[in-house]
């Protein structure tokens, strides 16, 4: 369909001001936080479920693809319109529809920033647990799309454990409800399948979230190490000792340097690694648990354990952690985030080998990650403008994922497959596994209207 006609039809649904199609707009909606680029045919900013449904009906009738987009901060190319089509940007659907304290649920539109909801909940003493480092700007729709994780997911689980239902627009424009405020609805757990489906199965126009009273007490510790391996060993030792802290994050020397240049988070520049360990829950017994953790740290040659004394100190440590990805851009202009997972006990060994890969390709690698979950984030530093380096980055990234897969882990812990890791899907799944997933895609979206060419590798179609 000609762009002009398309724009006109869509303007009829959402109003002219909410359809974008200039050269600049097509460029601006061609990127996300990954290294990929595409180009949509136009961009629509819907204002309601009804509008979304109409847009989808129109698109389907005319064979146009649709890519849902929140803030475009995903790291795997999930919002790249690789085959053109309409980008549905949810910035206008950003309201909190309901904070239902008695039922411990919140109902939101998908375009709301995660942190905006959390700030509103804080006024009631409530919390929505998932805390991606990007929560300040990521949307809940995006979190839904990627099944995002975050430091506190070690104890509380990831996004999927906190999304209980959704209103979903299907590929033909029909609107359905999956799950709900109550638990255990009869039938297949469609909510569970939709979370993390990267906009390929359905588009969420409303989300029902679990919220809970915020914990009574919090204790945050910074354990400082002279060796990366010691820090890694501490992580598995803590878990093996039967303690599941709220967070167990690791940050290495190179990242510390970058973070401290950005903001003064309080990470010592001469450390090889630090662990950011937080306990939360009842105040009773917390001191003793903290002492036990410190004992384990000491057994693993910790240099020092600092305890955050004030809320401000704690906030500062976390600000440092959350800004870590961005901060490494101070070292080299660009960073490529790998997102593999491994069983915790394999961490020290895998980390060493990750660094070897870096050396082999002559690429600097910084590490900041959810150690407690065994979710690595090696950040490969480079300059996107240098094509040779870019090529090496992709090779090294792929090798790191292979390493994780071979260590009994997987190729994405929280950032998704998107456009970026389709090939690597074959490191962990065979063609039968992928064929099964394709059936799910076909059940939801038989005409491939939504986010085509993502997640599932093409070559196994025959299987």
């Amino acid at each position: 369909m000609e762009r002009e006609k398309m724009v006109e039809e869509l303007a009829g649904i959402v109003g002219k001001e909410n359809v974008l199609s200039s050269e600049t707009d097509l460029l601006l909606y061609g990127y996300d936080a990954s290294l990929f680029r595409g180009r949509p045919d136009c961009i629509v900013l819907p204002g309601s479920t009804e509008e979304v449904s109409k847009i989808v009906k129109f698109a389907r009738a005319n064979g146009i693809h649709i890519v849902a987009r929140g803030s475009g901060t995903n790291l795997s190319g999930g919002t790249i319109p690789t085959q053109g089509g309409i980008v549905l940007h949810f910035s206008r659907m950003n309201r909190v529809l309901e904070i239902d304290i008695e039922n411990q649920r919140a109902v939101v539109e998908p375009g709301i920033f995660t942190l905006v909801l959390k700030n509103q909940l804080a006024r009631y003493g409530y919390i929505y647990q998932p805390d991606p480092a990007s929560e300040k700007v990521s949307t809940l729709g995006g979190n839904f799309g990627e099944n995002s994780g975050g430091p506190h997911c070690l104890k509380y689980g990831v996004t999927t454990n906190h999304i209980l239902g959704a209103e979903v627009v299907l590929y033909d424009g029909e609107v359905i409800q999956v799950g709900g405020k109550a638990l255990d609805h009869p039938g297949y757990d469609l909510t569970g399948v939709l979370v993390g489906s990267e906009g390929t199965l359905g588009i969420a126009t409303k989300l029902i979230l679990r919220i809970m009273p915020k914990p009574e007490a919090v204790k945050t510790m910074l354990a400082i190490y002279n060796s990366l391996e010691d820090a890694g060993r501490t992580v598995s030792a803590i878990i093996a000792d039967g303690i599941i802290p709220a967070t167990l994050e690791m940050i290495d020397r190179l990242t510390i340097k970058a973070v401290e240049e950005s903001i003064h988070a309080g990470f010592p520049l001469d450390a090889e690694a630090v662990l950011l360990i937080e306990l939360d829950g009842l105040k009773d017994g917390m001191e003793r648990l903290a002492e036990r953790i410190m004992e384990i740290c000491r057994k693993n040659n910790v240099r020092e354990v600092k305890v955050a004394k004030t809320e401000a100190e704690r906030a500062q440590l976390w600000a440092g952690r959350r800004g870590a990805f961005g901060a490494v851009a101070r070292l080299r202009p660009n960073y490529f985030v790998c997102d593999g997972t491994v069983p915790r006990t394999r961490l020290p060994e895998v980390l060493t080998r990750v660094m070897e890969i870096g050396r082999r390709y002559g690429l600097a690698i910084a590490n900041v990650f959810h150690a407690g979950d065994g979710n690595l984030h090696p950040l490969i530093l480079f300059d996107e403008r240098n094509e040779e380096e870019l090529r090496k980055v992709h090779l090294a990234g792929s090798e790191i994922l292979k390493l994780c897969a071979d260590a009994g882990g997987t190729i994405s812990g929280e950032h998704g497959i998107g456009t970026e890791k389709m090939k690597e899907m074959l490191f962990v799944f065979n063609s039968q596994d992928i064929a099964a997933m394709k059936k799910v895609k076909k059940a939801f979206d038989p005409e491939d209207v939504y986010n085509p060419g993502k997640v599932l590798p093409e070559q196994t179609l025959s299987a």
Binding site: E102, N103, Q104, N147, C153, G157, V158, T160, L170, V175, Q177, V178, G180, A182, L183, D184, H185, P186, G187, Y188, D189, T191, G192, V193, G196, L201, P213, E216, I239, G242, I244, L282, D284, G285, M286, L289, T341, V342, P343, D373, G374, N375, G409, S412, G413, E414, G416, I417, M425, F429, N430, Q432, I434, A435, M437, K439, V440, A443, V455, L456
Partner: protein
């Protein structure tokens, strides 16, 4: 349909003669809503399972998976039953990695057996699921029916605990989903789809679970109240507090009377609130004291603390409340908005009383899930009529309060008159589409699931 003889010999080739039942009399024990399977097979490996399923698929034979049968009364009346596939020989622990807090097991092992093994391991671990009949229920069955227990309040359900699965799909494909690590977003979360899919999408052969270290301390607190408002007010206060109980169960009088016949209990109120606590010692002790205090403020007439074995006996009796072998037992599971807790219990008591049925109600108060056990003797034809009407009313009540109602157990005569899966919702269409894609020949458990799937 191929001749039975041919089928039998083919299946026998796959699993071996000893693992196949074809004898009429013995088959009767496997009757399902009055339908007797033609054969029962017990494959010992994933590969055997795959071959059995592939054969059934090829020939279009209806295949019903079964663990130890504790939930066989659940679900709609099957359209056909040709092969019953028992998972009991798939009963190995394939990877026990306590340091990483993961456990990989085959589907035919019982939960108790797993727990016993884990408790002996190192500092002691457990799989945080506590569904009914853990001594008999197999993990495959528990997961396929998404069974849960009181402690789901603290630990969640299978969807929160499973990280990976190996499943035989209807066409015989062995499909791996998820993995061993807790975080995993590689591809669609197929595990979610299979959990609670009631054997209609695939035969779950292997599962990887998250484990937890055994808690330092466990304790149980039983508080009795005379009035429902008191129990309800109390429960809702605890739920919205910063306390972190492992379970909060509310029982009505008939449930309590029944329990008292199983285990000694001193309580004599009309409603019992049972609270399970576990975790760090200091935390458990503080909560015991504080919850007791709060109970008094709501007019608790009797408080009883239990620990260790005594407590475990209580929880076991509570979990195993429904007698799984009773053919006429009627058990209903309703879900609802948390805030409708008191309303749901009151209206169910009223409705059942109006129908002249005694009902034992047990509620996962912190989750908004209510089990109603209708205590009737044999279900006659006329009674079935009354009960069907009652269940219909109870379903509407649950729907009104944001939920739905599933009949977890009922005699076939009653099942014929109702939809055991409650009111259909707008997402049924996609469920049917999924079934169509995965199992186009409808060989797995035909007719037993939501919307006739």
């Amino acid at each position: 349909m191929p001749s039975t003889m041919k089928t039998l010999s083919r299946l026998q080739e796959i699993v071996g003669e000893a693992n196949l039942i074809k004898d009429r009399d013995r088959l009767k024990a496997y009757k399902l809503d009055g339908k007797t399977p033609k054969v029962v097979v017990s494959p010992a490996t994933v590969d055997e399972t795959s071959r059995v399923v592939a054969y059934a698929y090829e020939k279009g034979l209806a295949l019903v998976p079964r663990g130890n049968g504790t939930k066989m009364k659940m679900g709609g009346i099957p359209k056909r039953v040709d092969i019953l596939l028992s998972t009991t020989r798939l009963n190995r622990i394939t990877d026990k990695d306590c340091d990483n807090l993961t456990l990989c097991v085959e589907s035919g092992i019982t939960l108790d057996e797993v727990q016993k093994t884990l408790a002996r391991e190192g500092r002691g671990y457990f799989l945080p699921l506590d569904p009914p009949f853990s001594d008999k229920a197999t993990l495959g069955g528990i997961v396929a029916t998404n069974a849960s227990g009181p402690k789901r309040l603290l630990y969640g359900t299978a969807r929160d605990l499973i990280t990976g699965m190996k499943t035989v799909f209807p066409n015989g494909d062995v499909v791996v989903s998820g993995g061993k690590t807790v975080k995993n977003v590689s591809g669609y979360d197929m595990c979610k789809l299979l959990i609670g899919s009631f054997g209609t999408l695939g035969i779950i052969c292997e599962m990887t679970f998250r484990l937890l270290p055994l808690p330092e301390k466990e304790a149980t607190l039983l508080l009795s109240f005379q009035k429902l408002e008191q129990a309800d007010g109390f429960v809702r206060e605890i739920i919205s507090s910063q306390l972190i109980p492992a379970s909060i169960e509310t029982l009505n009088r008939p449930a309590l009377d029944y329990l008292k016949r199983q285990i000694p209990l001193s309580t004599d109120g009309n409603y019992l609130v049972a609270i399970g606590l576990e975790g760090v010692r200091e935390g458990v002790e503080r909560q015991m004291a504080e919850i007791g205090e709060r109970g008094k403020r709501y007019g608790c007439v009797n408080a009883e603390a239990m620990d260790g074995e005594e407590g475990e006996a209580f929880w076991k009796a509570l979990r195993d409340f429904s007698i799984w072998s009773d053919p006429d037992l009627i058990s209903l599971k309703s879900n609802f908005f948390l805030s409708k807790h008191g309303e749901m219990i009151a209206s169910y008591e009223r409705m059942t009383a109006e129908s002249g049925v005694r009902s034992a109600l047990i509620c996962h108060s912190g989750n908004g899930i209510l089990y109603s056990h209708l205590l009737t003797a044999k279900v006659s034809r006329s009674k079935a009529e009354v009960l069907a009407g009652l269940i219909q009313k109870m379903t509407l009540e649950a729907v009104k309060n944001g939920g739905n109602l599933i009949v977890e157990s009922a005699p076939s005569s009653l099942k014929k008159r109702i939809d055991v899966w409650g009111e259909a919702r707008s997402d049924l269409r996609i469920m049917q589409r999924i079934k169509e894609e995965m199992d186009p020949r409808r060989i797995l458990n035909p007719g037993r699931f939501v919307g006739g799937i």
